[in-house]
């Protein structure tokens, strides 16, 4: 459909396997850089922080949450369009999803993993994190299921499990396809991963059903996950956090930043994995439309937030909004508005939506804006609570900024490893979008150019 006419089924297999097997020095250099950045900027400062205490970060008495939590929400948010979008598009049978959903789902997975790491970084005593897991023990420890943070634990566990299963299940036929074309350790790995997939009609039938059920289960799950993350804030009584709109606000924001994230990832895959034939202007156009709608909804909710703050007539809400708009962090707020509400309006133009580099820049800008949004939610609200005499200001420390950068490197590292293990675009679903092969005469059919290794 969107692929060029001259792509054959075999081309798809070849291209995808090539993307897994053929690894250039550029890849290794990138991997080396991202691993070093991850070690130097994430793990080193984190170990320092474990030794010193959370004091290594810039948090203080009124603002006990900082960039770690903002990063956590950001990564959770980024995870929201992968699997969710994939599921929605699967159920609605949108075929343009097929070229991009695998990497989008991977994005979900890895951003969830990074988000979980951010929780570890955020905790005062991460070595006791298992206490938040309900397992029977002699210490009479039991988690508190009334806590929104426990909802988080449950929801994120479920989401991580669900997303992992979902991406894995959709990849089983592809593992099988790759299995046949690889040798050595890769082959053994794919033999295990493909579970012995053959592609019989029964297997396809079962896979189809299971996949659809999963999609149906994961959509409400994904919506609940970010709603629950928003309740970490909204269930508190902190002015400007205690708002009913927070759950939809977070969900929309999550999908928004996630979709922008997909645009970024698509660009990179297209450019550096040579998937130009599969990831096309159509994807950017469609994602652009989606982004535009999301940005409008997001802007609407932001305007509502200001309106309710002003209309509430209470000193606390009013002050919280005033501080956000004109206080210490105001430059960040207006940066966010510029990146997330104003700049996306460019996507009204189709020409803009179908140009790759501008879309890349915009998608990165949107995610910077969305990170800022999360930071502002934490910083402005916590530093301006009920008792003015306890107000304070929070400025992230070097450790925090470094860990923020390092978490990005961690995500990139995970993604780099992913593209060499997972077929980063779906082989069989791409094939589905291709025209069905016509029957040929027997004489034209040649011997396969490669030997099966089974």
């Amino acid at each position: 459909m969107q692929a060029e006419r001259d792509i054959s089924y075999a081309d798809v297999n070849r291209d995808v396997v090539r993307s897994l097997v053929e690894t250039g020095s550029k890849y290794y250099i990138t991997l080396a850089i991202s691993v070093s950045v991850m070690l130097a900027c994430f793990f080193a400062p984190w170990f320092y922080q474990l030794q010193y205490g959370i004091g290594a970060a810039g948090m203080n008495h009124p603002t006990v949450w900082g960039t770690y939590l903002a990063s956590f929400i950001f990564w959770i948010g980024l995870s929201h369009s992968g699997t969710l979008l994939s599921c929605v598009l699967h159920i609605t049978n949108s075929s343009w999803r097929k070229a991009m959903y695998r990497s989008a789902e991977a994005m979900t997975l890895f951003s969830l993993m990074v988000a979980v790491t951010m929780v570890m970084v955020h905790l005062g005593r991460p070595w006791f994190i298992h206490w938040a897991v309900p397992y029977p023990n002699q210490m009479e420890l039991w988690p508190n299921f009334r806590s929104p943070l426990m909802f988080d634990v449950m929801a994120i566990t479920t989401y991580l499990t669900g997303s992992t299963i979902f991406i894995y299940m959709g990849t089983i036929p592809d593992f099988a396809a790759v299995r046949d074309r690889t040798t050595g350790w890769r082959h053994h790995m794919y033999v295990l991963l493909s579970l012995g997939w053959r592609g019989t009609d029964t297997e396809w039938h079962r896979l189809g059903w299971a996949y659809t059920f999963l999609a149906v289960l994961i959509i409400p799950l994904a919506v609940s996950v970010h709603s629950i993350v928003s309740w970490d804030f909204a269930l508190s009584i902190v002015p400007a956090l205690h708002q009913t709109i927070f759950a939809p606000y977070f969900v929309v924001g999550a999908i928004y930043s996630g979709t922008a994230g997909i645009v970024t990832v698509m660009f990179v895959l297209r450019k550096y994995m040579n998937f130009e034939h599969y990831i096309t202007k159509l994807h950017f156009d469609n994602l652009g439309k989606l982004l535009l709608v999301l940005s409008l909804i997001w802007t609407y909710i932001n305007v509502l937030e200001i309106f309710t703050g002003w209309y509430s007539g209470t000193s606390t809400e009013y002050e919280a909004i005033r501080y956000k708009l004109f206080g210490y962090y105001a430059p960040l707020y207006w940066e966010m508005i510029l990146f997330c509400a104003v700049a996306p309006l460019l996507m009204i133009s189709k020409r803009f939506r179908t140009s790759f580099v501008p879309m890349l820049i915009l998608s990165i800008a949107i995610n910077i804006g969305m990170y800022t949004e999360r930071f502002l939610i934490v910083a402005t609200s916590l530093s301006r609570q009920y008792l003015p005499d306890a107000w304070g200001i929070y400025v992230p420390s070097l450790v925090e900024i470094s860990i923020m950068v390092g978490s990005l490197a961690m995500f990139v590292t995970l993604f780099l490893i992913f593209v060499k293990i997972f077929p980063s675009i779906s082989i069989y679903e791409i094939k589905e979008t291709l025209p069905e092969p016509e029957p040929k005469t027997q004489s034209e059919s040649g011997a396969p150019e490669w030997q099966p290794t089974l």
Binding site: F47, L50, W127, F128, S315, L387, P388, D389
Partner: protein, 761 residues
């Protein structure tokens, strides 16, 4: 058995596959920090581990003389609380009293005698033994004493009372010296002088805040630093809300709102130095219109004629209507009370001011009655706290004598004049001329750092002593200070050092006691002999006093009811004289005693550094308080560093915009600015005493520390003040709610008070 124990196992795990992160986590999750909580290997008999022992003793953190109970566990002092039986503190304690433990356990304490080695002053201090120290000093003292040059010895102590003061007097007398001086920056000598002039009393009266209904305070920060804050706090609380249907009202008159000003119902800013004039204006109103019926009405009318309400209003800047209202309330609300102190007593006209203030008590008949001014009985021991107190001029004389080589040995006891005297006194330079300076301080401080011989004293929690609070509580009170822990270091009680010297000098006839405890026991025989106890025999009495922590006689003195006609005639307050011209130095400088650091002596206590200033919430530093109008005129905001320059020096500190200070006054807290006072005090803030002009109070010769003029120069630098407070305005949130009346509880309904129904979950 396997030779791998748990530790090895963990090492293996850590080193092995788990990796650094997990190994770290494991280490953190299993480690058990241990604290050495039980210092005794073999505990003394009276301790049972886990059971607290309480000792009653006396607080020495300021001169109020509160009784305290110290909780000890396993031989270590853990907590100080007020002694409920002691009439001064009645079980309560102030912020500084709580911090006494940090004096005891201060890491910067001197741990043993030190002698400056080598010739010349900047020699190194080397540890010596007590015997060496005592004998060397005794030798030097003996030479002068034998030569009849005893007067070349000066003994300079902080203000002490009770038998230790007696001991000092005996000792110095035996040395043949007349130079026994007590020096405290904040000693209220002008109040002593005023009370003396007005009532002929050499001791301070007791101001009965507890039962008063209307208090007019002229500059006395009675809740923060003035005389006996804990006792005043008790009185304040009781007067406000301790009686059915009666609520005391408090009015504070001062140029810069102090802690007491904030707690008061009304804060009135009168021009600095005109507090006494204002008092006389009120007096004038009472005499002329307030129905004063005393037999000496004519004399008073004559004396106060010059202080008509209108002219006073012009001079003080307080509206005439306010003066009239204050006068009427003061006269009509009985019992009422007028007190004066703080800056009001430390302008050039300090004594006159305080005479004027205290005269108000006479005019409305407050003398000698509940809720008024009660005269204290004669001190039980000695001549009272004011007897040996050095004024500023005395200290100047001492410095002069030192410069002329008339002082050969200076013995310092826990006082730090180098810090608490203005630079203009050039005291440091004078000290440099003294051949032998001996310090009995427990801590290194600016003055002790100049000493040649340091014989460190115990802190008050390790030594025997006694105290007779002055002013008392209207009757005689005394308490014995007993050691609550065994000494931490190789130090000795001040009294024991003196007795040791006396022994060494062969003065056993006059000072025959072997140690302070014995001396006290013998001295308290006299108190026992006063008969105000039911105890059978002295031993029982002694034990009782130690157990109760207090001894007292509840009989009150009958007060003199009249004021001499000549005194009435002398009542009058001159306009204050300020040092520096108002053109060059547009601001009046108002240093004030910090609630936490006192005159700077508590700056080495970490708790005191870290407890926020009550009014500004600033910690760990100095600041300059400016009126918001002044600040905005000068383009200054909080944190801008300004140079405060007087004719006698300058200091630089950040600005704090303070809403309750007169526009032409700038204020700075005293206490910071140490450079030789241990790790917690050194290098923090500045010492505003340094830049004070050597202006003296005209009658006593005390330092008129509130009469310096300064100018401000912005330096362009900025410092973020370290403080707890964010925005100290409640923005309509009704955090502190008020009610107009004590009884009806009615308040205006507000948005915030609308109850919200809780939805059951």
């Amino acid at each position: 058995m396997s030779s791998i124990d748990r530790r090895d196992f963990l090492k293996l795990v850590g080193a092995g596959g788990v990796g650094t992160g997990a190994g770290f986590m494991l280490r953190e999750s299993i480690k058990h920090p241990t604290q050495h909580l039980i210092p005794y290997v073999i505990p003394p008999e009276e301790f049972s581990p886990g059971i607290a022992t309480w000792y009653n003793t006396v607080c020495s953190m300021c001169s109020a003389g509160c009784g305290i109970s110290v909780r000890t566990r396993e031989g270590r002092a853990k907590k100080i609380e007020g002694n409920p039986a002691h009439p001064v503190s009645q079980g309560r304690l102030c912020v500084r009293g709580q911090a006494g433990l940090h004096t005891l356990y201060n890491p910067d304490r001197l741990t043993g005698p030190l002698l400056r080695a080598g010739e010349g002053k900047p020699g190194e201090l080397i540890p010596i033994t007590w015997d060496e120290g005592i004998s060397q000093l005794a030798e030097r003292l003996n030479v002068l004493r034998d030569d009849g040059q005893g007067n070349r010895i000066c003994f300079l102590s902080k203000g002490v009372r009770g038998h230790l003061a007696e001991l000092f007097e005996l000792f110095v007398d035996q040395l043949g010296s007349s130079r026994l001086l007590h020096y405290d920056f904040a000693h209220p000598q002008t109040l002593y002088a005023a009370i003396d002039r007005l009532f002929g009393e050499t001791h301070l009266p007791y101001y009965d805040l507890k039962n008063t209904r209307f208090l007019l305070s002229f500059g006395a920060d009675y809740l923060g630093s003035w005389i006996s804050p804990v006792h005043h706090g008790l009185g304040f609380g009781h007067s406000r809300q301790g009686r059915d249907g009666i609520r005391g009202r408090f009015v504070q008159i001062e140029p810069r709102m102090s802690l007491s000003g904030a707690a008061a119902d009304e804060w009135i800013a009168a021009n600095p130095g005109t507090e006494g004039i204002l008092a006389l204006g009120i007096g004038n109103y009472i005499v002329s219109q307030g129905g004063y019926q005393g037999s000496d009405r004519e004399e008073w009318a004559a004396s106060l004629a010059a202080y008509s309400v209108e002219s006073v209003a012009t001079q003080t800047g307080v509206p005439a209507a306010t003066i009239a209202r204050l006068a009427e309330t003061f006269a009509d609300t009985q019992p009422s009370l007028a007190i004066g102190g703080g800056a009001a007593g430390n302008y050039s006209n300090g004594v006159d001011t305080l005479v004027a203030v205290n005269a108000l008590n006479y005019l409305v008949g407050n003398l000698g009655r509940e809720g008024g001014l009660v005269f204290n009985p004669e001190p039980v021991v000695g001549r009272g706290a004011n007897a040996s107190q050095a004024t500023y001029s005395t200290m100047l004389d001492l410095a002069q004598d030192a410069r002329q080589g008339e002082i050969e040995i200076l013995i310092l006891n826990q006082t730090n004049p180098v810090f608490t005297l203005p630079e203009a006194a050039e005291f440091r330079e004078a000290l440099a001329e003294i051949p032998l300076i001996v310090s009995l301080s427990s801590f290194m401080d600016e003055t002790t750092s100049m000493a040649d011989l340091i014989l460190p004293s115990h802190t008050y929690l390790e030594s025997w002593g006694d105290d007779f609070p002055e002013p008392g509580v209207g009757f005689s009170v005394g308490a014995i200070s007993q050691p609550v822990v065994s000494p931490l270091y190789d130090t000795r009680a001040t009294g024991d050092i003196i007795l040791g010297l006396a022994r060494e000098l062969g003065l056993t006839d006059a000072l025959p006691w072997s140690d302070m405890e014995e001396y006290l026991q013998e001295s308290w025989q006299g108190i026992y002999a006063r008969g105000s106890t039911e105890a059978e025999g002295f031993e029982a009495f002694w034990t009782d006093v130690l157990k109760a922590g207090v001894w007292g006689e509840t009989t009150r003195r009958v007060a003199p009811a009249s004021v001499n006609a000549s005194v009435i005639e002398s009542v009058g307050v001159e306009a204050p004289v300020f040092s520096g011209s108002s053109d060059n130095y547009p601001f009046i400088f108002h240093p004030y005693l910090s609630n936490t650091l006192n005159d700077g002596r508590d700056a080495n206590l970490p708790w005191m550094q870290e407890v926020p200033d009550p009014l500004t919430s600033v910690v760990y530093g100095s600041w300059v308080e400016l009126n918001p109008t002044t600040a905005s005129e000068m383009g200054l905001t909080e944190g801008d560093v300004v140079e405060v320059e007087s004719p006698h020096g300058k200091v630089a500190a950040p600005v704090y915009v303070y809403p309750a200070i007169m526009p032409n006054v700038i204020a700075m807290p005293i206490g910071q600015g140490h450079d030789e006072y241990g790790r917690y005090a050194n290098g923090r803030g500045v010492n505003p005493i340094q830049i004070l002009s050597p202006q003296m109070e005209s009658e006593t010769g005390g330092l008129a520390w509130a009469s310096t003029r300064v100018r401000l120069t912005p330096t362009g630098q900025r410092i973020d003040l370290v403080k707890t407070g964010g925005v100290s305005r409640d923005l309509g949130r009704e955090i502190i709610q008020t009610t107009e009346s004590d009884t009806d509880g009615g308040e205006t309904a507000s948005l915030h008070s609308i109850p919200i129904t809780v939805i059951p979950t």
